[in-house]
């Protein structure tokens, strides 16, 4: 976290201060190149799909991808908020590894409580409540017990995955109600309800992160906790709050997930790589390599388009994971390159 002030100075001084050293200027230039390179790669892949993949630019195909990205998008926003509040250092910064497992547990709670006959409002409250409770566990571990987020959330991930297994016995718990059917197949103005959920949630996140005082203070907490504390911000509450928010996202995401699959299924934990990818890839859209609402939604959709484009090109889906992993590696390399090393 102590790296950030130097980074900020670098970004600003690269433009304004005349006393910039040659190395700093080269680094600033390198950062810019890496960023435009990463964004360029995104663009080239999408343009290639647009030209080569039949039906890629079709309105319904794009809507399909938005719909397919709804669950991932909601979870990626949860992860982004944690990264913003905890700082974007990959090793010591904010990260919630339990997010995907938490979604699985919430989905199990939703399906099991519904099949047990509880009324809809109760099941929804139980589902979202479970998510927030797991978030609270993370917050306690990270903020009050002061455990490194990477390790704290890893431990919580295991607890939560175990709880899901106990609840579902590792089986598919099927459920269908009017509520979930409306989410799964309903549409409004020609756009499916799932797609609407993502659109509305994205607008909400944009407003929250970039147009409110809380959003600004959250960036301050992640960017420079000491300065934020000196300015009178309750850093612990903000950081803890990010984990609660991630838990809330897990709860909301699980409702969309169960609706889409008409069941809670094992294997939700596999989403973790995509969630981290969406949050990390999103950082290249910001000059300071921090997650933004716009960056997160763009990279979420990019991941969706990647799978979609490969399928339309009739290229094996086995390539998708590889390309996704390569891009993460590039972006992580880019962010570490952009941050001046103090080690």
């Amino acid at each position: 976290m102590t790296m950030t002030p130097a980074n900020r100075e670098l970004v600003m001084s690269g433009v304004e201060s005349p006393v910039v050293t040659g190395t700093a200027r080269r680094k600033a230039l390198g950062t810019m190149l890496v960023r435009t390179g990463a964004i360029g790669t995104f663009a080239v892949i999408l343009i290639y799909f647009a030209l080569m993949a039949p039906g890629f630019l079709n309105f319904y195909n794009i809507l399909n991808v938005v719909e397919q990205s709804a669950v991932l998008g909601v979870l990626a926003f949860g992860m982004s908020v944690v990264v913003i509040g905890g700082g974007s250092d990959v090793q010591t910064g904010g990260i919630d590894l339990s997010l995907a497992a938490n979604t699985g547990l919430c989905a199990a709670v939703f399906a099991v409580s519904t099949t047990a006959g509880f009324p809809l409002p109760v099941t929804l409250a139980m589902t979202v409540g479970t998510g927030i409770l797991v978030g609270l566990l993370n917050a306690v571990a990270v903020v009050w017990l002061n455990i490194l987020p990477l390790l704290a959330t890893l431990a919580v991930m295991n607890i939560v995955a175990g709880a899901e297994l106990i609840l579902t016995q590792n089986t598919v718990v099927s459920m269908a109600s009017d509520f979930t059917m409306n989410i799964a197949v309903g549409s409004f103005m020609g756009v499916s309800v799932l797609a609407w959920c993502l659109i509305v949630f994205t607008l909400f996140m944009m407003a929250l992160l970039h147009f409110t005082g809380s959003g600004l203070r959250l960036y301050a907490v992640g960017g420079h906790p000491e300065a934020a504390r000196a300015a009178g911000i309750d850093v612990g509450a903000y950081v803890g709050g990010t984990y609660l928010f991630a838990g809330l996202c897990a709860g909301l995401g699980s409702i969309l997930l169960v609706s889409r699959l008409s069941a809670s299924t094992p294997g939700t934990g596999e989403l973790l790589l995509s969630i981290i990818a969406a949050a990390l890839l999103g950082t290249v859209f910001s000059r300071r390599f921090v997650p933004t609402a716009g960056g997160t939604i763009l990279s979420t959709l990019f991941i969706g388009f990647l799978a979609n484009g490969f399928q339309l090109l009739n290229v094996s889906s086995y390539w998708v994971t590889g390309v996704q992993g390569t891009l993460i590696l590039l972006v992580v390399a880019a962010t570490s390159f952009a941050k001046p090393s103090e080690r």
Binding site: G55, N58, T171, V172, A263, T265, G267, L312, S317
Partner: protein, 342 residues
């Protein structure tokens, strides 16, 4: 950069194609040796795009069936759009959704959980795309290519009862009742056991899982052997598919327990080999021909698209391999192991 990528991709495809050809050759040979050729019928999928969606290909059965569909679609001149969801239901559903938008001439769906799939299979039919399934009985399918699971499962159950001498306790894996073929096989087991009240299923039943099926079955059965330490406490282990049978058989052998035999269905080469081995605890396996089942689905799609009548299901013959008949029956199921490059 993209050129080298294309090149390596091409190389990759070449290698895959070579492997598939090899597998196809071996399977064609073995099916010919079993007297099951498709006959003289002239079918064609020329100019047709066939969507192939599989929930996963990580087991011998799945891989062989998947390759069977792809190979036959290509052999009939069609273009396969082959999608493997890697056992992830979300990926599976997204792939089906995109596939519907691609409007192929037909879709062949292979395995998966019906509760998750059915709403999407309905969408396929709503989009007027003919749907064929492999091992998946659903009202939305025009034809389901499969084995006769009713007869095969009751044969396996009866063999188990016979080996047990009509009495004793059975450990049962029942983790996938939501998968249609597993439901049929489990129900057949229960139906057979109705006539033999002295054969009892040990409660609670065990749960087989994916992934780590073998390891998990091994530790489950080891735990149960510890819980029931005496000879005769357990006489048999049953599973609806044969990957848990591998773990169960290994656990029984490792514990040095005699008088416990394992039973399952599918016929993976390593299991057939276990059954054929007189020393092994594997009692019997219902062996199917997954590659032929896959080919059958592609041929049915071709028949339908040519305007022919297609029955609601096609049963591809299967064989019960037991310790007693392994010498005669196991042969065709073993060589695949050497040749199929899996």
């Amino acid at each position: 950069m993209s050129q080298t990528k294309n090149k390596s991709r091409r190389n990759f495809f070449k290698a895959t194609a070579a492997m598939l050809t090899l597998a196809a050759g071996v399977c064609a040979w073995s099916s010919a040796s079993m007297g099951q050729n498709s006959g003289t019928e002239t079918l064609s999928l020329s100019g047709k795009r066939i969507g192939i969606s599989a929930v996963g290909t990580d087991h011998h059965w799945d891989l062989m069936a998947y390759q069977g569909i792809i190979d036959e679609v290509k052999a009939l001149g069609g273009e396969p759009i082959a999608l493997d969801a890697k056992r992830n239901d979300q990926t599976h559903v997204s792939q089906l959704q995109t596939l519907i938008a691609q409007k192929p001439d037909a879709i062949i769906e292979m395995l998966g959980n019906l509760d998750v799939l059915n709403p999407w299979l309905k969408r396929i039919r709503d989009a007027d795309i003919p749907l064929f399934t492999v091992d998946t009985a659903t009202p939305y399918s025009l034809n389901n290519s499969t084995s006769n699971n009713y007869s095969l499962a009751s044969e396996v159950a009866l063999q188990m009862v016979a080996d047990m001498g009509g009495k004793g306790n059975v450990l049962v894996f029942n983790g996938f009742y939501g998968v249609p073929v597993c439901k049929i096989r489990y129900d057949q087991l229960k139906y057979v056991l109705q006539s033999y009240p002295d054969v009892k299923i040990i409660e609670p039943e065990l749960r087989d899982v994916i992934p780590n099926t073998v390891q998990s079955a091994y530790s489950n059965v080891t735990d149960m052997l510890t819980k029931y330490p005496n000879e005769g406490d357990i006489s048999a282990v049953w599973a609806c598919w044969d990957i848990p049978q591998i773990g169960a058989t290994q656990a029984i052998e490792a514990a040095g327990r005699k008088g416990i035999k394992t039973y399952a269905i599918d016929g993976s080469p390593e299991v057939v080999e276990m059954v054929a081995n007189p020393e092994s605890a594997a009692g019997a396996v219902g062996a199917q021909q997954p590659y032929e089942i896959g080919r059958s689905a592609a041929r049915n799609a071709a028949r339908y698209l040519a305007g022919e009548h297609v029955p609601p299901f096609t049963f591809v013959p299967a064989v019960l391999i037991t310790k007693e008949n392994a010498k005669e029956t196991a042969g065709p199921f073993l060589p695949k192991k050497e040749g199929a490059a899996n």
